[in-house]
Point group: D5
Chain length 162, copies 10
Amino acid sequence: MKREDLTEKLLDIKREKGWTWKHIHEAIGGLSPFLITAACLGQMKLPKAQAKRAAELFGLTEAEERMLNEPPYRGSIPSLPPTDPLIYRFYELVMVYGTTFKELIQEEFGDGIMSAIDFNMDMAREANNKGDRVKLTMSGKFLPYKYYGNDDDTPEYGFKEG
Amino acid sequence: MKREDLTEKLLDIKREKGWTWKHIHEAIGGLSPFLITAACLGQMKLPKAQAKRAAELFGLTEAEERMLNEPPYRGSIPSLPPTDPLIYRFYELVMVYGTTFKELIQEEFGDGIMSAIDFNMDMAREANNKGDRVKLTMSGKFLPYKYYGNDDDTPEYGFKEG
Amino acid sequence: MKREDLTEKLLDIKREKGWTWKHIHEAIGGLSPFLITAACLGQMKLPKAQAKRAAELFGLTEAEERMLNEPPYRGSIPSLPPTDPLIYRFYELVMVYGTTFKELIQEEFGDGIMSAIDFNMDMAREANNKGDRVKLTMSGKFLPYKYYGNDDDTPEYGFKEG
Amino acid sequence: MKREDLTEKLLDIKREKGWTWKHIHEAIGGLSPFLITAACLGQMKLPKAQAKRAAELFGLTEAEERMLNEPPYRGSIPSLPPTDPLIYRFYELVMVYGTTFKELIQEEFGDGIMSAIDFNMDMAREANNKGDRVKLTMSGKFLPYKYYGNDDDTPEYGFKEG
Amino acid sequence: MKREDLTEKLLDIKREKGWTWKHIHEAIGGLSPFLITAACLGQMKLPKAQAKRAAELFGLTEAEERMLNEPPYRGSIPSLPPTDPLIYRFYELVMVYGTTFKELIQEEFGDGIMSAIDFNMDMAREANNKGDRVKLTMSGKFLPYKYYGNDDDTPEYGFKEG
Amino acid sequence: MKREDLTEKLLDIKREKGWTWKHIHEAIGGLSPFLITAACLGQMKLPKAQAKRAAELFGLTEAEERMLNEPPYRGSIPSLPPTDPLIYRFYELVMVYGTTFKELIQEEFGDGIMSAIDFNMDMAREANNKGDRVKLTMSGKFLPYKYYGNDDDTPEYGFKEG
Amino acid sequence: MKREDLTEKLLDIKREKGWTWKHIHEAIGGLSPFLITAACLGQMKLPKAQAKRAAELFGLTEAEERMLNEPPYRGSIPSLPPTDPLIYRFYELVMVYGTTFKELIQEEFGDGIMSAIDFNMDMAREANNKGDRVKLTMSGKFLPYKYYGNDDDTPEYGFKEG
Amino acid sequence: MKREDLTEKLLDIKREKGWTWKHIHEAIGGLSPFLITAACLGQMKLPKAQAKRAAELFGLTEAEERMLNEPPYRGSIPSLPPTDPLIYRFYELVMVYGTTFKELIQEEFGDGIMSAIDFNMDMAREANNKGDRVKLTMSGKFLPYKYYGNDDDTPEYGFKEG
Amino acid sequence: MKREDLTEKLLDIKREKGWTWKHIHEAIGGLSPFLITAACLGQMKLPKAQAKRAAELFGLTEAEERMLNEPPYRGSIPSLPPTDPLIYRFYELVMVYGTTFKELIQEEFGDGIMSAIDFNMDMAREANNKGDRVKLTMSGKFLPYKYYGNDDDTPEYGFKEG
Amino acid sequence: MKREDLTEKLLDIKREKGWTWKHIHEAIGGLSPFLITAACLGQMKLPKAQAKRAAELFGLTEAEERMLNEPPYRGSIPSLPPTDPLIYRFYELVMVYGTTFKELIQEEFGDGIMSAIDFNMDMAREANNKGDRVKLTMSGKFLPYKYYGNDDDTPEYGFKEG
């Protein structure tokens, strides 16, 4: 059994039952909707309690329930760059604004990255009379590059004082 | 003259003067810091007034000022996937959560995309005693696929009523 | 069930019945022929009414009907660049004239894109005594890049007044 | 001398003089604006008369004038898929609608292609109160696959009579 | 049913029966052997009469016969560059002599291409006491780039008179 | 000095002098025009006598003359697949007809290849009232795969007797 | 039936029977062990006599026996560059020493190639007290580039006399 | 000025002076040798104190000193996969043992990653009478995936109790 | 039977039984846990004794047991660069520190590589109050490039005496 | 200074002087001709004595002499797969016979590789009345995979006794 077979099975059941993701979020519960969806799509694991409730909801075998609790081999896009327009627009943002992210995050935080692991996300509809907007809020822990052996205590955050 | 030569020139001046991006944002003004940085990095144009102030700040020729006002050939990442860890993490988010974005945006808004053109962004430091966090807020207009010729007025947003 | 399996099923039925696309367009109706074909090929969703009529025409299950109403993961070309000569010629047009599109659209409309989402298309045979021609008419909404924070009201469309 | 050096030179002069493409089209004349732009960008040759007028307009050497009259090695996009959003949208259209083009053109015309060589194009602004639209009209000669040795005169256009 | 499945079926029957291509060409007839082979390999369609005779020869269903009459999605090489040495040598010829083709065809014919659509081909054994040779004769219609809007009637074929 | 610099120099001189390839072929002589062009484009070496005459014609240094006599690192296409339409059509022929070449050459000659090394080529204009045609004649020595150790003398050419 | 299915079948039988390649070489005989292995792996054809003995050894159908006698579509590496370390080392040799091969073979033989078609190979264990060595002996016919039309009889092998 | 130009300059000076890395490590000091080397190669920034000492050692300008203190665009391999055998072997380890790393780290630590940011490394020579060995010790902070919204406190580390 | 099918079978059994890797290591024994895991994942062979115990543990057929004892075609990552974040971080280390590895290993050992074949590895949890760390210890035999024919006995390890 | 600039300089001098590789081998001496050529082409280092003699022969600076003594970043092929026919044939051998190498070397030696580091090579002309042959002899140390922790002394070389 491969994880993508399980994903296809879950989507087939969702379609046959006519469920929304919201319905699935409420039935599984105890975790951000964002994570529950990603787990059903084979990109995150479900913690044990949620895997159990998912198994009940979808009528899974014990092995399938355990698979939902395993960290999957991540990477959900069939080919890169993504050919689907909705997903491509995010990829485009990285291409166009990636170097801007780098400059501004580094000027504010110093040398390091925004974690994609200790990371949280939320999506909301932003009503707007010119057309509603998708509002995404991302929050990732800043992880500074560690300079092991550094005996110099001067803070190293860019040229702020420059 | 190529746009990347102009970008390199601006970064050389910034480094020689010891300027921060914040200093550049304030000197140019009248536009989100996010856009001013992207324009200096050759990814956005500067409107005429800003291009003029940038030309004064950096001491540019008239042709360079005009080039700043031209829409550039966008795409700032030297190679894809990006090799720089800070930028790669955003790429990773698209790979891991791209299909989740698709499912949740479509369930909420119907078939369409979040615009990367009518798009705004903000970055803030989120103080946290386990380590500060990078908070990014993105807001893009939702653009529904137009179904020309559709004579059916039933709303088409997923299976909400299902 | 994957969307490409459904596409293959529809094409098998079309072949077995000896139907033309025109026959399918008329049977499903209420939408541009262009969109109905794209939906059958797994690139667009069919609105609910059309999905229902398609299900009747092709004898589909309820789950298959629902799948036709879902926004698909788009991208119909088996590999890129396309190896099929008919499709490749369009790709070639992008390679050869892409920068021309960029210059001329930007000079006329300013910085932005032609939408591939709010987009309509039509194909017609153009009789010509040197050999008939394929006439394609495309119409996409122009989406200007939004310069958030811009406090400058001067129109920014190229150097028209220059 | 390489063709891209000549292209860069022309764009530098255009920027320094503050010319629009329209100004260049009128000065060179006698050819569709679409083709003059493509030739300046190194994708088409200029016929001799136009190359002569271009040389006068831009102040070129005789060798540069001759280069403008040579068929260039075509292919204008720095990398593929194109990273620039305006050009990418056209590429996306090929990916999403390429198989639809194939089905509909073949049903109407039989087995063959739309020429990208005997090809004409026009762009116009389409006023629209929901936002102006870019209207592109393409017309390419249909070239049927020749079935040499075919001794059968039955027309071969799909299953129209089916 | 996919076209490659049909191709595999035809090759299986050919192998089981111990047929040569020559046998198949004679049985189907009315078309160049070159085209009949390409159609059996899923790269060309067979006209209706030939598809009918092929169906009789191979014992195909009506749907398979119709599929033989459809223009296929062309592109027969499993991966590119081709790994098979016989086919690779042709690819090598394009890499080594491609620019020579371009220079010589353009000097003789002007700006344009040799059609791969209105195209014919023949292969013959050329006896030679140093080892027999493969002789390929290709003939493709020259298609000149059309310079729409060109008001200049001077022929544009290179510098012949230079 | 790189070979491509020498190629660029030769093309610059050809353009400045307004020479045709025909003129160059006649001036260098003693070798097929096809090979002389390929050598000038950096894909073949010129034998010593021809290199000497080329050096006189173009006014080259002794080192440049020697470089013309060296076997170059072959491969003339800037990127693959070729983006130039004229050259791409040849590439397309390989993609579409490559497997046909394999089947027909093997049936006639047995297991082996058509040499791209002991290879000759000719191009001619074929007058045709529907539009002139490019006629290419290729002749390459057939090279059979050697089955070392084979103690079986039965000819191995397919199933001809089958 | 595809050739890779036949390869998989042969390897399954070899494993089930616990045979070595040496056993298979002896049972099939009459051809270099190197070629018999390559044929079983789907990269070479077996001559008729050997295909017959292979069919007896492995218990194949008549169609499978015939397939063993067909020239396969060659190219045995699942992806390139090869990920398997043993095979990669050979690939590495080409990358590191490829240009050295070119210089030394050309200085000795003139412009041409070492044939990979009229080619023989042998592997032996070379006892060595620092660790045994793999000794590979390759012998390929030198194929000189033919300079058709060359009326100059001076030998053209590099600068030997220089 | 680009970072790779600065790297080339540092390596030129190192070569001209005949310095070892050890000499450079001692002269700059206050940081792991591993990081100092990486910074000189353009992959890490040097903290301010070290950048100052490096500027003295190599005789750099103030702008070059500041550039050493900037986080570089990381990614040091000219092309991927790496063609250099020493570096390739590490790449091979990832290909062969990557999935093993994933299984064993996850079983021990749960779902997450080993940080490449909060990461330290050491290399030592391990004397061995069969040939000395390279000993690398890597230590990276384990970063668990955060399951925001998880209201379940059961530890989630694989099936340890299973 | 393909090796990946066997891997999938082993993982299915592991999941159904609820076994840990530790349990499997103990049951098979006599080899580093690191190697046993890699063998189960299809990247290493198991020696005969271990293959036998694995066959007993998992209930395998004799052919499956033999397959476990065969050297597999190595390369475990579904696509490269790896999309899974845990594995990608190792790939990132190669990209960022690969050139540093090269410089430091070569300065210490001379020209050569760290073997990925005579290679050992260990993983341990390193308790740390800022968060536990993954500690990896790698040890690979240094393999010096052999300079055959070198009659010079001067040690060649960089410029240490410089 | 980059290594490829030094390579270009050496080849320019070789061409200007009209030297053969044989001349260079004799002048530098004390090392296999194969290695001297590879070092001049930037793929191997020259030991100190040879670097000194090369510096005298070519008239190099001290820094250039030192660069010749540094292990280069290896990988000599401009792009992969190689486009030059002579080099490509070796690449083709890896593609066609790579899996055969794997099977036969492993059956003879067990699980491991042929070293590309402790590796020697020789080329000779093999007179043959059907055309001379290139004879390459390669000899690489066999490196067995080390199975650390293996407590089983049974030899593991395939199924020889099977």
